[in-house]
Symmetry: C2
Subunit: 634 residues, 2 copies
Amino acid sequence: MTSSLRHTLDFLLYQWLEAETLQQRSRFSDHSRETFDAVLDTSERIAREKYAPFNRLVDLEEPRTETEPDGTLRVVLPQATYEARRAYAESGLLSAAQDYDIGGMQLPYTVEAAANSFFAAASISIGSNLLTSGNANLLMVHGTDLQKQVFALNEFNGRWSGTMCLSEPQAGSSLSDVATRAVPDGEGFEADPLGPRYRLKGNKMWISSGDHELTENIVHLVLAKIPGPDGKLIPGVKGISLFIVPKKLVDTEGHLTGERNDVALAGLNHKLGWRGTTNTLLNFGEGKYPVRGAAGAGLDGAGSGAIGYLVGKPGDGLKCMFHMMNEARIGIGMAATMLGLAGYYASLDYAKNRPQGRPIQSSSASAAGKGGKDASAPQVRLIEHADIKRMLLAQKAYGEGALALNLYCALLVDEQHTGTPEAADEARLLLEVLTPIAKSWPSEWCLEANSLAIQIHGGYGYTRDFPVEQYWRDNRLNMIHEGTHGIQAMDLLGRKVLMEGGKGLALLAGRINGTVQRALQVPRLAAHANALAGALQQVGAATKAAWATGEPGDALANAVPYMQAFGHTVLAWVWLDLALATLAKDAAVAQPASVGRMGAMQFFFHYELPKIGAWLQVVSTRDATCAQMPEDAF
Amino acid sequence: MTSSLRHTLDFLLYQWLEAETLQQRSRFSDHSRETFDAVLDTSERIAREKYAPFNRLVDLEEPRTETEPDGTLRVVLPQATYEARRAYAESGLLSAAQDYDIGGMQLPYTVEAAANSFFAAASISIGSNLLTSGNANLLMVHGTDLQKQVFALNEFNGRWSGTMCLSEPQAGSSLSDVATRAVPDGEGFEADPLGPRYRLKGNKMWISSGDHELTENIVHLVLAKIPGPDGKLIPGVKGISLFIVPKKLVDTEGHLTGERNDVALAGLNHKLGWRGTTNTLLNFGEGKYPVRGAAGAGLDGAGSGAIGYLVGKPGDGLKCMFHMMNEARIGIGMAATMLGLAGYYASLDYAKNRPQGRPIQSSSASAAGKGGKDASAPQVRLIEHADIKRMLLAQKAYGEGALALNLYCALLVDEQHTGTPEAADEARLLLEVLTPIAKSWPSEWCLEANSLAIQIHGGYGYTRDFPVEQYWRDNRLNMIHEGTHGIQAMDLLGRKVLMEGGKGLALLAGRINGTVQRALQVPRLAAHANALAGALQQVGAATKAAWATGEPGDALANAVPYMQAFGHTVLAWVWLDLALATLAKDAAVAQPASVGRMGAMQFFFHYELPKIGAWLQVVSTRDATCAQMPEDAF
């Protein structure tokens, strides 16, 4: 499996994205293809040895809690999870993209993302390091020097892990309704060297890796509201601030003080999939672990609650958190992608080895007539049937296309950080527009890929004896967490295509047109280039039509079909660009891998891109069938 | 939940299908809407009391085996499964459609199917009575009088249950490769009053309800091959015969003889879903339970093996079995449908009660600008968001449309059995063409409905605290068992649309055109009527284009996209016909249920039917992208 993945990554990184050219930039000047390959080699090996063999185990032995003598809950995880986490942390990957002076490798983010893909393919369910590096990255941007030193660096070096705590049981995706309160922790609260010190009270839901003993400490990043002078919370997202709330208190040197903070595990969610990762309900400041003062101390509650340190300014919480959210969204897209590819590799292997049925004979060759089969002939393998090939090619087109898109987005991150000011600004804008697609498209289509992988296996695919049913279950989460499909779609059509006067959309259209123009010069790609140009024109027209009345209710009622069409157009662009890169090296064109890529590209243009017509039709007409449906009619 | 289902069934049965008119036929002359309603009432009550409360339990406590002191395996099931089975058998539903003189109710199959829908919605996983009645129905057609008396009647009365044993571990769907052997059981084998007696040896895989102690005995219907004079098995399906192989031997009075037949449970499959039903690997005649003679007795193996009684003639096995297969396929379509509707009802209930987020404000109402929200307003319930309504309406359109199609097929079965000769023949032909759709369409789209039900629940939908994730898992089987999607598609395009000179397809087209003509007279339906006429024309043209070269390989490479387009066209027809029935009663048009049906119909025409263009494009061009993909290019 990893071998096929490695070949695909090599093509994407070196032939398509030309990642080697990054070493021309001063930040990456010590790097070369050799150092990149060494990181990929190590990742592939650890994923193969420490992750893949235990993917089913962590699904079957999902996290559970034991009650300690003092009545508190402790999370129990399989030993394999500890060992995988240790091997990952020891590899240095957590800080690979960081500066040398804080122990990083100054690795391009593009290469880091490629390296992480091995872990996601081997066991998405074990690997939850995404949140730790995202958490630390946020602090590197928005934290004080001491917050970076104490919290971020101890996450990068593997001692501690991180979470993001946004959702609450009563509010779900609706961050306006965050009800966790943070009040200044007594006089002099502003003078704490770790940051202005607050006391937090509230409940957080759906917190991945919210409690465990994999690491010495857990750094929670928590959204909460600071009450106004009247003691009331400010409605909406403007009142939200961000806090570091460590599970165990630490001093300015990063040593544990021995004090447990008042963050209590209230329960684990029992999930359909992704079971290797704990998902928790956490109670902040409810007095389970009274810290530095008795629970309920002070009439106003001061002196009780979980201790947290403000990050950035009051009211800037969501802005800070979005830094992490955008990174997490692309990470989710990558997770969905790798599950899709894992299912592809598994079903490809099965199809190549399982004999079943016979080919359809040509009309002239058989007395059995149309569609007859020669029953005396030996069975053929599954991969010799056209419909099995269709299901394999669909998976390849979805999975490899999504991987390309995600690595392209990773390169935009590098561009944003190390490119010329102009290139960096373009990269930022493109990322704004592409992030909803990079998150939503793989989560929808690589889930479909996993369903096809089950289908190829037949009844066996429905059993726990084969890995594909788990991939499908694991992947179903990706359309939900870090912003549902609906939220991504509102973000795309309601915000991203409009922002800065539509500049992001225009920029993307320019890139797509660039590919179209190049492809028009290549005879075997010209028809596809025209199809893509037509699709882009349709998307543009639908965008205008959706907003023709200027009423958000009209435009956004069909935001999801819009996003589906937008996503398919983006993926068609990616595939056409991959085809150009494939054909660029004459010598490689006849190689099986090149034939495969050209086949997947053709599949996408013939079988997938035409779907956009149906999606855009309701967008263009601002179809109100759903929006106007009265509640009692359901 | 059941209340909504009951209202939908009432509309479909009485307003749309006019099931009351069946009482004009002599077979049903004792019946009336009152007797039909009584059956529905009873079914609804038993499903509510004995099935629904235990659906999660049977999922969590999946069947397991215990090893008996003698080394044999015994299946352990929850007590709830026993009680559900008992209540179902006592209701008389197993024989409801049978003649009075064998204890039946002479209930129309249409009403029986409607009654069974309650059990499928309450717990598909507990309810596995489909196979028992299918098994007995087969014997009523192909069995001898004594086989009917001894085996079928004891299935109808609930004492015994039935299975169908087709697949083998090495052959899967490829029945040509059945390797189970049946040899005459010594001299005088033909004189056994229960039927010509054979000894069977072989392994059968994926046998639902293949072993358990829910009933006193299990009647296996087994496909096996009788070797020719040279001892070799005849290749292909022509050599297949059908046998009754009871788990425990019985006499001509239907009493157990006390002899255990040599049918041994080799293991249980651990599945993704549908866990309440055992799924087994069975070994026939391997000597685990030597019966009437020692294992290996006789040099030729005569006297060893499981005892089985031939049904019908040698070589007619598949023909006989297809009687049951077609019934089972429509039953699977119904199972998929009811899972889809169960998810719809669950997510509708959740959406009506869960407050989350705020409506998008109109551009004039808000200082927040386009798409802004007033954070100080209270949260609204999920159902007030347009995208949630879209996901609800899609589920309604898929689920209620599929239910209508399945009941229509059930009515065709009644027509086939009790209509005029001409009507009966038309019903037979329509069933041939519609069976692949009735099976495949719900299994694909009601699975999608279940995914939407999860999505509406957000993170909660991904947990075991809510029922929707189980519906989704349970439903994933339906595209696999009783003939995969690929097999249904080959059957449709390779056989059903061609059979009898295309007569079945022409007949269906005539029915669709009839609906189109009626709808053209109704102003608010005219546009949809034209869309349906256009779709039918496209399907017809694609059928011709697919077969233009006469090469099955060309035509069938895209059989699945063809079936998807065919299915969507059939469902559009069903919805248009439902709309006509809805509008037929002036007084009812303004009622919420009517508004809902018209909305679902409109949704189907606006959001779904346009999808057929993309599917048919590859059919019409006989696209060879997949078929020509070389193996090493994947």
